[in-house]
């Protein structure tokens, strides 16, 4: 079975919100639209978004690190939000594992949002139905688009390539390799929801070096003498 998902690399995300705006732009005018804003130009603006970028501070100043954290529906393999829906509006697609809401069936009871531990579902204030990330289902399944554009809007927009998209059930896919080789992990594994989306951790590249590797192993005196320069003549000055 195919399970489409995003892999988000926290090591490269710079928190620019390009995915947030491109998501809203695509989806408000697409199949999942509209995503209405209330009071967009007033003191207290609010609205429906499928994707948010948050920021966390890890550690205590001055030893702190900033983690930019994009957040959208994880398309869980055991989605707890689906079986609780009384109308059958919430469902998981058999063919590609994307979790969707049928906006014509939803009664806006919000029960599914209680059953998502991640807070990934948002009730649209105008349509009064539940909305959430669709993985751009209307793009990724559109055979009229050229192959390279059959990706979620956020993935195409990300300037740092922090977002990868693919089938996490195919071991040779880009996303599976990234998860396997770069320590991909799931959010809140304690609930057994098996999120399909994975995150790649922040990583540091360090060389491992031991003290004896800093010494000249072939130094016959076994100790570092002053450089010849101190004696007035260097090796470079010797003419052969």
């Amino acid at each position: 079975m195919t399970q489409l998902a995003l892999v988000i690399d926290l090591n490269v995300c710079v928190g620019c919100h390009a995915c947030v705006t491109s998501c809203k732009e695509w989806n408000t005018s697409g199949w999942a639209g509209t995503m209405v804003d209330q009071r967009p130009y007033d003191a207290d603006p609010t609205g429906t978004f499928f994707n948010r970028v948050q920021m966390f501070e890890v550690g205590e100043y001055p030893k702190t690190e900033t983690v930019h954290f994009p957040k959208s529906c994880l398309h869980c393999e055991e989605p707890p939000c689906v079986p609780v829906c009384p109308t059958g509006a919430s469902y998981k697609r058999e063919d590609n594992g994307v979790v969707l809401v049928d906006y014509d069936k939803c009664i806006g009871c919000k029960y599914c949002s209680w059953a998502c531990p991640y807070g990934m579902r948002e009730l649209d204030e105008q349509q009064k139905v539940m909305k959430k990330c669709t993985l751009c289902i209307d793009r990724i399944t559109d055979q009229d688009l050229p192959e390279r554009e059959r990706k979620p809007a956020c993935v195409l927009a990300c300037p740092t390539t922090a977002r990868l998209f693919g089938d996490v059930h195919d071991p040779d896919s880009e996303v599976s390799i990234a998860i396997r080789e770069n320590g991909g992990y799931q959010l809140m594994p304690e609930w057994g929801t098996q999120p399909a989306n994975h995150y790649l951790p922040r990583r540091k590249t360090r060389i491992q070096i031991f003290d004896d590797e800093l010494e000249r192993a072939d130094n016959p005196l076994k100790k570092e003498a002053p450089l010849p320069a101190a004696e007035g003549e260097t090796l470079d000055d010797v003419a052969y």
Partner: protein, 330 residues
């Protein structure tokens, strides 16, 4: 969690309606066993179950206002009965109208005096249509209690609710308020069952105090499974959110936070403990001593207000793990 008034009204109203209906049937069964005086079919049983039906009806109206748009009740709500295999909410949407129909039929059968025995059990207990409907209706009432409570108790992410105590509380609160209402109704219609219902009301109120006490104790020491560490997957003891990604609020900040200060929440808790448990028991005891027709009515009114506060607190005390992602407005 944000306490929605639609749900507060829905659960307290139908709880009282279900309890009242079960009180009426209990009275009928007792009179069958010659433990109580049989009451008038029309002015007591039919009128009493009509009162229960009114409460259930108002509960249904409150439920309509819980939908995204009230119009969804006409256009879409029928779909709500389709997922009964997996969803407790769907099961409630079946159990509530089914129970209301049984209460209606119970009222009608009493009104029409359908008391000719259909059959006799062991040559002693004559079973007529009213009794049959009463027993089936009481079972349906229990099923409805379980469905309503399981809507909350089955959400494992809300650990404060995810406990059999939630089911016990819903049943006992419904029975307590229903039997108090039955005492009030008996006092109002000058029927000599005030003491009988009053005693049961006190018993159920005390039992509810015990189970609710346990759940408050449990919730006070609950250890939440999710932490900021598992929420973002970073292994560090010091993590702080600096920005939730927006400033003006969202569905996530409205639906999952009650917005009241710790002081107000504690005040509501004290208020409901006094109004649900202490005052009604005192009033029912006083009415037993004084024989007043008004004290049981007052007892029900006080307990009902207290139950609304209890339901508010029930929501306010539940902490959703998603709140970990919404700590800092920026």
């Amino acid at each position: 969690m944000h306490p929605a008034f639609s749900v507060i009204f829905l659960t307290t109203l139908i709880g009282a309606g279900q309890g009242l209906f079960m009180a009426l049937v209990t009275g009928q069964v007792y009179s069958l066993a010659n433990l109580l005086e049989p009451q008038d079919n029309v002015t007591f049983y039919a009128a009493g179950s009509a009162l229960a039906l009114v409460l259930l009806g108002f509960g249904l109206v409150a439920a309509v206002f819980h939908l995204g748009k009230p119009s969804y009740f006409l256009t879409r709500a029928w779909r709500g009965v389709t997922q009964w295999r997996t969803s407790w909410l769907s099961r409630e949407l079946i159990a509530l109208p089914a129970f209301m129909l049984l209460v209606f039929l119970y009222a009608v059968s009493h009104y029409a005096n359908l008391t000719n025995p259909l059959f006799v059990i062991k040559g002693q207990i004559p079973v007529d249509v009213t009794l049959l409907l009463g027993v089936i209706g009481s079972l349906a009432s229990l099923v409805l209690f379980v469905c309503t409570a399981m809507i909350y108790a089955s959400v494992r992410f809300l650990q404060e609710w995810h406990s059999p105590l939630t089911v016990a509380n819903f049943i006992l609160f419904g029975l307590a308020s229903g039997f108090t209402l039955a005492a009030a109704f008996s006092a109002w219609s000058d029927v000599a069952l005030v003491g009988f219902y009053g005693v049961w009301a006190v018993i159920f109120t005390v039992l509810a105090a015990i189970t609710r006490g346990f759940s408050m104790y449990r919730n006070g020491r609950i250890k939440h499974k999710s932490t900021l560490q598992t929420a973002i997957g970073v292994r560090h003891t010091k993590i702080r959110q600096r920005s939730m990604g927006f400033m003006g609020g969202s569905f996530n900040t409205r639906e999952f936070f009650h917005g009241a200060g710790a002081g107000s929440v504690a005040a509501v808790k004290l208020f409901f403990v006094v109004m649900v448990f202490l005052v009604p028991v005192a009033l029912l005891a006083a009415s037993n001593a004084l024989g007043s027709a008004y004290l049981p009515i007052l007892a029900f009114a006080v307990q009902y207000v207290g139950l609304m506060a209890e339901r508010w607190y029930f929501f306010a005390e539940a902490k959703h793990p998603q709140n970990l992602y919404y700590q800092s407005v920026a």
